[in-house]
């Protein structure tokens, strides 16, 4: 092409590089107390023991949080039982709906405050907590508020009744969103709950107690006890809990299932995953690359349904990998509160070590590692976005859930081979298919053994859509009408 010459001196010289100035969201919108107790029966129960919760991006201590004991759990279950028996379960559905609608609206009103706290305590980028976690959490409350007075229609001729007291244990990757996934259907169905947030990310759940106060939810309907695994174990073992809902690792899920066996407690588990993201050669290439990036680097890959195994049809392997690597170089890793950050901090030192050791195993087993040049902050827990190529099905990085920003790339030749390889895992939570051919999407979706199959998109969530796993990814569904079933008994 012809060069356009500009005579020198006519106009000020252009500067070279465009570096985005820091654009941090203000921390002032949220007030964190120095010390928190447990939220039981609508009151703050002083915690006998506490531990420090930190910000994973700076290792800065944020607050002292209660380490829930068996007595704390017992008090919370007692409060939930009494609230269940004394009014909540007998309340007309339309009345329960009012509270849920209120909670949803307050979440919207206070979304900035909650989003900042979520990013501060969990390390996820503010753009994700602002644009995904908070809107979806509110949407879940809105959605289940709508079901509260329509249960008889949702399950016609089956006489739906609440189960009783639900013990709910949630993970650290989407603290407030998982809280919403658990509490909203439970309350809509007429249950009361005791919720234990993850020990690394208790703060939004504790701030949520203030949302409940604002909504004037009757005391004891929602109780929150914080702490490490032992607190969760006490909740699982408690005799007066009617149902356990757990989202977390497969290992803990298996323990819970064996513990609950024979107790008469109901159980739903949403566990690990090793999702296959399958890219055919007729896909919309640039958009598939976006989908791959969103699939594995969204929330630092700390997503149970993350697209951690990428299957690429061999005929487009090279251009796709080239595009993927270039795209990786544009990811902005850093301060979770900066509005331009794409990839934030790893949730905890423990998780960072787990990721690092699995990545090392990939290198040792012979996979080829690629990490874009990026400067990671010195303090806090960080891991650069990583892609492994030349991965074999047998490598640990292709088998085990890494729960970090690490993608393993494998190839296939035919649709049959893609299905076979994709299903060749103990997990079955989600899968993605990228093709412009509609018939192939349907063909694949029928054969993939995964609870969710996304077509030409990934990591898309909606309260109306049931979510859950096959095989070691758990059982039971959350979201949609299906999500109510775990919280209802049917007298037939």
């Amino acid at each position: 092409m012809s060069e356009l010459d500009r005579p020198p001196g006519a106009t000020p010289a252009a500067p070279r590089d465009w570096t985005y100035a820091p654009a941090p969201e203000s921390r002032d919108v949220v007030r964190i107390a120095e010390r928190y107790g447990h939220f039981v029966g609508g009151q703050w129960l002083e915690a006998a023991e506490t531990y420090e919760t930190i910000s994973p991006s700076s290792e800065e201590p944020l607050a002292l949080v209660g380490q829930g004991t068996e007595q704390d759990v017992d008090a919370a279950v007692g409060a939930a039982r009494s609230a269940f028996a004394n009014g909540w379960s007998a309340l007309p559905g339309s009345e329960r709906a009012k509270y849920l609608f209120r909670i949803a609206r307050i979440l919207q009103e206070r979304s900035r405050e909650l989003a900042v706290l979520e990013s501060l305590n969990g390390g996820k980028p503010i753009k994700e907590s602002r644009d995904v976690d908070l809107p979806l959490a509110a949407a879940h409350f809105f959605y289940y508020a709508g079901w509260a007075d329509k249960l008889e229609y949702a399950f016609a001729n089956r006489r739906p009744r609440p189960v009783g007291v639900a013990g709910q244990i949630i993970p650290w990757n989407f603290p407030l969103l998982m809280l919403a996934w658990k509490i909203a259907p439970a309350l809509a169905a007429g249950n009361t709950v005791v919720l234990k947030p993850s020990h690394t990310t208790p703060l939004t759940a504790l701030l949520f107690c203030d949302v409940l106060r604002q909504a004037e939810l009757p005391p004891g309907v929602v109780n929150i006890v914080t702490g490490y695994g032992s607190t969760g174990a006490a909740l699982v073992k408690h005799k007066d809990v009617d149902k356990i809902a757990f989202t977390g690792s497969t290992e803990v899920g298996k323990w819970i299932q064996s513990e609950v066996a024979g107790s008469g407690k109901r159980l739903t588990l949403e566990l690990g995953g090793k999702a296959a993201n399958i890219v055919f050669d007729d896909c919309a290439l640039d958009q598939a690359v976006e989908g791959i990036v969103n699939g594995i680097y969204f929330n630092q890959g700390e997503v149970c349904c993350a697209g951690s195994r990428l299957f690429v049809q061999e005929s487009i392997y090279e251009p796709l990998i080239a595009k993927l690597k270039r795209r990786l170089a544009t990811l902005r890793v850093g301060d979770p509160l900066d509005k331009n950050t794409d990839v934030g901090a790893i949730n905890s030192r423990e998780q960072l070590e787990k990721i690092a050791s699995l990545v090392q195993s990939g290198v040792d087993e012979g996979a080829e590692i690629y990490q874009p040049p990026c400067r990671l902050p010195e303090k806090g827990f960080w891991f650069a976005p990583t892609v492994f190529t030349n991965v074999a099905q047998s490598y640990r990085i292709a088998q085990e859930e890494i729960f970090g920003p690490v993608l393993s790339v494998l190839t296939f030749r035919t649709p049959e081979e893609a299905v076979e390889k994709a299903n060749n895992t103990p997990y079955g939570l989600s899968a993605g298919v990228w093709t412009e051919k509609g018939s192939r999407i349907l063909w694949m979706a029928q054969r993939l053994r995964a609870g969710v199959v996304w077509a030409n998109t990934f990591n898309r969530f909606d309260p109306t859509s049931p979510f859950g796993g096959y095989k070691e990814s758990g059982f039971g569904r959350e979201g949609g009408r299906h999500g109510l079933e775990g919280y209802l008994r049917f007298d037939e």
Binding site: M1, S2, E3, L4, D5, R6, P7, A10, T11, P12, A14, P15, R16, D17, W18, T19, Y20, A21, P22, A23, K127, D131, D282, C283, A284, L285, D286, Q287, A288, E290, G291, A322, T330, K339, N340, E436, N456, T457
Partner: protein, 312 residues
């Protein structure tokens, strides 16, 4: 003139230079990506950089039946010194006018480095015989235009006569000689992103130096997803052939904020190499004053009345 179907049915391209596969565009994902880039928060120095770059790359445009030499001369002066009270403000890249106004612009801009671009080929509809369009280009070149903004024949494109569209671009390119050719796709009339991508590749195959979104006469014009779609095609061409094709976004960009969003799109799709008037242009008219107002606000901390910025 079109030859050798190197790509799938109906899309005829010469074998050389090699072009990427046409491929497909997923509308939902494209729009999502554009929307996420639009949320980049550009503050302080980064914002000043973007606003000044926007001025540097602006094709200050007037395309009215009522344009006169006087109006064009005034606009040309504005392009040279957008803000007379602030010598730190750079000049615009070019003035974009109808062919008849080229001499007026030329006279005022002589020796300044600001180019004169003329729209041609029966702008904006393109619904004239090829010979007339080519003659239109020749006369604009003779009148002294440095750059030609042509429109593609959307009637031919939408009826599947890609070869006609391609041949016309080739002929216009010949008529341009060394003059810089921008090819306007008028994406608002193309209907789908697949068509936008196909037309972008077709224009590049035909010899475009720049591909341009719109005439500014049709709504929707330069939306962010359309720009992203074209930028991705430009990127593919660069990766496959090494050719650097310029990109001009035009139509409906009136606010500084929109301009910054478009620049972010280029920056994160094609990289910093494209952030120059040689490879990027913003077609606009009222945008310039909004940018000046934002820059002045950055320096003084307060918004000035519009009366402090010249209307030309």
């Amino acid at each position: 003139m079109a030859q050798a179907p190197a790509l799938p049915t109906g899309f005829e391209l010469p074998l050389e230079p090699r072009l990427p596969r046409i491929g497909a565009v997923d509308a939902v994902a494209l729009e999502e990506r554009a929307a996420s880039l639009a949320k980049r928060s550009i503050k302080k120095d980064a914002k000043v950089f973007a606003l000044e770059l926007a001025i540097r790359t602006t094709d200050l445009t007037t395309l009215e039946g009522a344009d006169t030499p006087g109006k064009v001369a005034a606009l040309s002066s504005k392009a040279i010194r957008p803000d007379p009270s602030d010598p730190g403000i750079p000049s615009c890249a070019a003035i974009c006018v109808y062919p008849n106004l080229v001499p007026a612009a030329r006279e005022r801009l002589r020796g300044t480095g600001v180019k004169v671009a003329a729209v041609a080929t029966a702008f904006p509809s393109g619904q004239y015989p090829t010979a007339i369009k080519v003659a239109d280009v020749r006369s604009a070149v003779e009148l002294g235009a440095d750059e030609i903004d042509m429109v593609i024949d959307r009637g031919a494109f939408l009826s599947g006569r890609y070869a006609k569209v391609y041949d016309e671009i080739v002929q216009v390119k010949e008529a341009c000689g060394d003059v810089h050719l921008k090819v306007i796709l008028e994406t608002g009339e193309l209907g789908t992103y697949d068509n936008v991508r196909r037309a972008t590749l077709l224009a590049i195959a035909g010899g475009a130096d720049f591909v341009k979104t719109s005439t500014g006469k049709i709504n929707p014009a330069a939306t962010l997803p359309v720009a992203l779609c074209m930028l991705e095609a430009v990127r593919d061409v660069h990766e496959e052939t090494g050719r650097r094709i310029g990109f001009k976004v035009a139509g409906g960009i009136r606010q500084a904020k929109q301009a910054v969003q478009h620049l972010v799109l280029v920056h994160e799709t094609l990289g910093p190499d494209w952030l120059t008037p040689d490879l990027y242009r913003l077609g606009a008219s009222s945008l310039l004053n909004d940018i000046l107002m934002q820059l002045r606000k950055g320096k003084t901390g307060v918004y000035q009345s519009p009366d402090y910025f010249t209307l030309d």
